[in-house]
Symmetry: C2
Subunit: 479 residues, 2 copies
């Protein structure tokens, strides 16, 4: 059993979450640091989570909204960035460039940090008439932001994977409605697939996307008291349309500039998933994102060895809808195996020993449950989906309960400071002024997360600047 100790998670989540997080990521083998500075390797066990996210996304977002996938170039001419001034300024510090000399075009090429500019160059050719609208296009791709802060697996790296949707509409109303619809669908994906509750709201002026009219966001809140921005949907108004010369002939036979949004979520979500559910034994995966829903471990004794092994194989075959792992190796003890698959986050473990065989049953344990349940062979196909669903629901329930317990309303600067020390997610009546936002950040390290989409009525005055409160803002430390 020595090897289990060595392989298992050495750090407690409650003691040093940052170190614990890295250990869980590395030891469950979902990701590793690449030798290339700032970059990560998404290993098969991690990539399968991304594939589940993609699949769910296609079904619940792209398909119902009529969004089509496409692929645009990795390289963006420098001049494209400068067409929309705020956008260029917002991204310039973190762009990686390909030399003028190589390009031979007298102009540097950016490696895309986001694709508004390169996509809208094409849109300016594609959109001619109101009949071409709405245009709804998404791409799944890699993007590069030359981060100089320390690399954090999934959370901050120079390259990551994401989807970026870019829609174009005739009217500002359509645009705003769908920008909001999309952020709600993002929130639903987090809750329904990842069992991760989020705040759904609007960013402050200071925190909105470079070039946007306003930005909607989903904000996860982690057990260590830091918010994780997990997806954004930007209403871009007609600014990019004007900058890129996108126009359409309306039903009125006049030329108009259309209204646009862009919306993205990334492999960062996997980081949120890990922090939300995992524990001191390793990774915990909500069943819906687990590639292998269960592992079958035969308990091998001299008695009935062949019969137990044969039944285990038979069950593996019967349960193939759950993509089971069968571990019938004889090199390791059952205890060693239990620890290994707990570390990997396999949702269900099925044990089958000679006694179970006699009783026509298996013992089932979920990754998060304390008890083993005896389930007769004949009921397995019915019971497993139920147990998985219960586990999925239980993870969401626990995560919501935890997040709710971290929320705190404050109405004084002292209250704010104490709440930040206690790593709370702060709710406060606020003035909404950018200088006050900066002041709060400098004094406390907390940033604005969002105002809620379901409007909350502001009352009284802002505790920091004593101006009239205009909105109810959420503040916290963040990733």
């Amino acid at each position: 059993m020595a090897k289990v100790e060595e392989k298992g998670i050495q750090t407690k989540k409650a003691e040093d979450m940052s170190k614990w997080y890295e250990e869980v990521c590395l030891k469950s083998e979902i990701v590793e640091f690449s030798t290339v500075k700032g970059c990560m390797v998404i290993r098969p066990r991690g990539y399968s989570i991304w594939e589940k996210i993609k699949e769910h996304f296609e079904l619940t977002i792209n398909k119902p909204l009529g969004v089509k996938n496409a692929y645009f170039p990795l390289f963006i001419p420098e001049s494209f960035f400068h067409k929309e001034t705020e956008h260029a300024e917002g991204f310039s510090p973190e762009v990686a460039w390909i030399d003028k000399e190589l390009t031979g075009d007298g102009e540097r090429l950016a490696i895309r940090p986001t694709s508004e500019t390169i996509m809208y160059d094409s849109y300016s050719r594609w959109i001619r008439s109101y009949r071409d609208l709405p245009l709804k296009i998404n791409q799944w791709c890699n993007v590069v932001r030359w981060e100089t802060k320390a690399t954090r697996l999934f959370l901050r790296s120079r390259e990551f994977l994401w989807q970026e949707g870019h829609n174009v509409y005739e009217t500002p109303e359509e645009c705003e409605t769908e920008t909001i619809d999309i952020i709600k669908r993002y929130a639903a994906l987090c809750e329904n697939l990842l069992a991760m509750p989020v705040l759904v709201g609007k960013k402050s002026e200071k925190e909105k996307f470079a070039g946007a009219v306003h930005t909607y966001t989903i904000e996860g809140f982690m057990p260590d008291g830091k918010a994780l921005q997990s997806g954004t949907s930007h209403n871009l108004g007609d600014g990019f349309g004007k900058a890129f010369g996108i126009s359409f002939l309306g039903k009125d036979e006049k030329k108009h500039t259309p209204f646009q949004n862009s919306w993205g979520l990334s492999t960062r979500l996997i980081g949120g998933l890990v922090m939300t559910h995992s524990d001191d034994k390793g990774l915990v995966l909500p069943p819906m994102v687990a590639e292998n829903k269960l592992v079958i471990i035969p308990l091998i004794f001299k008695k009935d060895k062949e019969a137990v092994l044969e039944k285990a194989k038979e069950l593996t075959d019967d349960l193939k809808a759950f993509n089971p792992i069968l571990d019938d190796s004889e090199e390791y003890s059952p205890g060693y195996k239990y620890a290994e698959y707990e570390l990997q986050g396999i949702p269900l473990r099925i044990e089958l020993g000679p006694r179970d065989l006699e009783n026509n049953q298996v013992m089932i344990k979920t990754r998060i449950g304390e008890e083993k349940i005896a389930v007769p062979f004949s009921e397995l196909e019915k019971r497993i989906p139920e147990i998985l669903e219960e586990m999925q629901n239980e993870l969401l329930r626990k995560a919501k309960e935890r997040m709710d317990s971290q929320k705190m309303s404050v109405s004084s600067t002292e209250g704010f400071e104490k709440a930040i020390e206690k790593s709370k997610l702060i709710r406060m009546n606020w003035c909404g002024e950018p200088p006050c936002e900066l002041d709060i950040k400098e004094k406390t390290g907390a940033t604005t997360r969002c105002t809620l989409l379901e409007e909350e009525k502001a009352e009284g005055e802002c505790p920091f600047c004593n101006k009239e409160a205009k909105e109810v803002m959420y503040f916290s430390r963040s990733y």
Copy 2:
């Protein structure tokens, strides 16, 4: 009808295939040239073909072979390339670099032209024991090769999409067997999904992959008499393993270097698909790769207008398994619409007019057929899959017939030169010597394509150098 003329393909395939190809690609809106030199934009109609290829690939290659998807960094340190000398030399002319100054690591970073080196760096950490083998990992990603020749949509561009599989085995025999199995699966994908016949064979020493022991290839042959290398599977032996320090403890408790292969196919396949099947009316898509299998066009007259429109909607709903387009707009004539969907390559057209409604039937025309067929409403769900399957088979049959007609055996240098002038795919008993290969290329412009996997016995002597023939080689011009 003036607009149809304008939108339709102006160039004949038989007269200028290169110009015709570009027109079909652009006007069917599957792809466009990006403003960024050397790059293309894969538009939704083109990207959906890539998605069908991916889907088929996952089912027929990754799943049966137990290959898992992952994701490795876009950036590769320069020093990694130099670990395998031949590999570095093979790729150095076409690599795009990120400046030393930006990286701050005293070393340039390559934008991946292929990922052997960055992946095998990870493999050297992951592989410890024979229990870790075989290791089978694939990634779907973008790669960059800084081409200086003219950009050709899908065929030659600075960035393209591909999959690259990288497997590791205990023994050279396992490695060789699966390297060949993979190239056969590639050929099956081309035939079964894309209805595109290919030669399946082995590359000459000169044409093999930089760093490989040998390279297997699938070679398409286009109507203009040029071969299109459409996928390769490289047996890398243990060269990369040694260069990257990959080793495993064998069952014999000794340290060994494992054996590896790498295998890839790219968006280039879409180019082959277009050239193989399309015609002077525009794109032709084999039904299996068509996102929308059919278009429903109601013929609108005053008589029974409402009833016809209603039935057209009902059919659209009944046939949703085929992802139909319903075009019930009244702005354009049926003739205009027919031309438009022929240009787009929609496999089936369903026409429904007042007379058809009376007769409880529709008229069906396939994209490649001459005749319209009357099909009763009640038989549609049964007949459509049959008609689609017939069309899929017919496309493959026609493509094979055409390719067979282009093959020619030669046994003299004069015969060779005449055959090249006639744009043939040449079969010749050959010495297999690199200097002779170079000589043939200089004299005729033809390159070696492959020797067939199903071995053909060489006879006599090489017509070019008069040495003993060692193999039966295929030669042609190529893309």
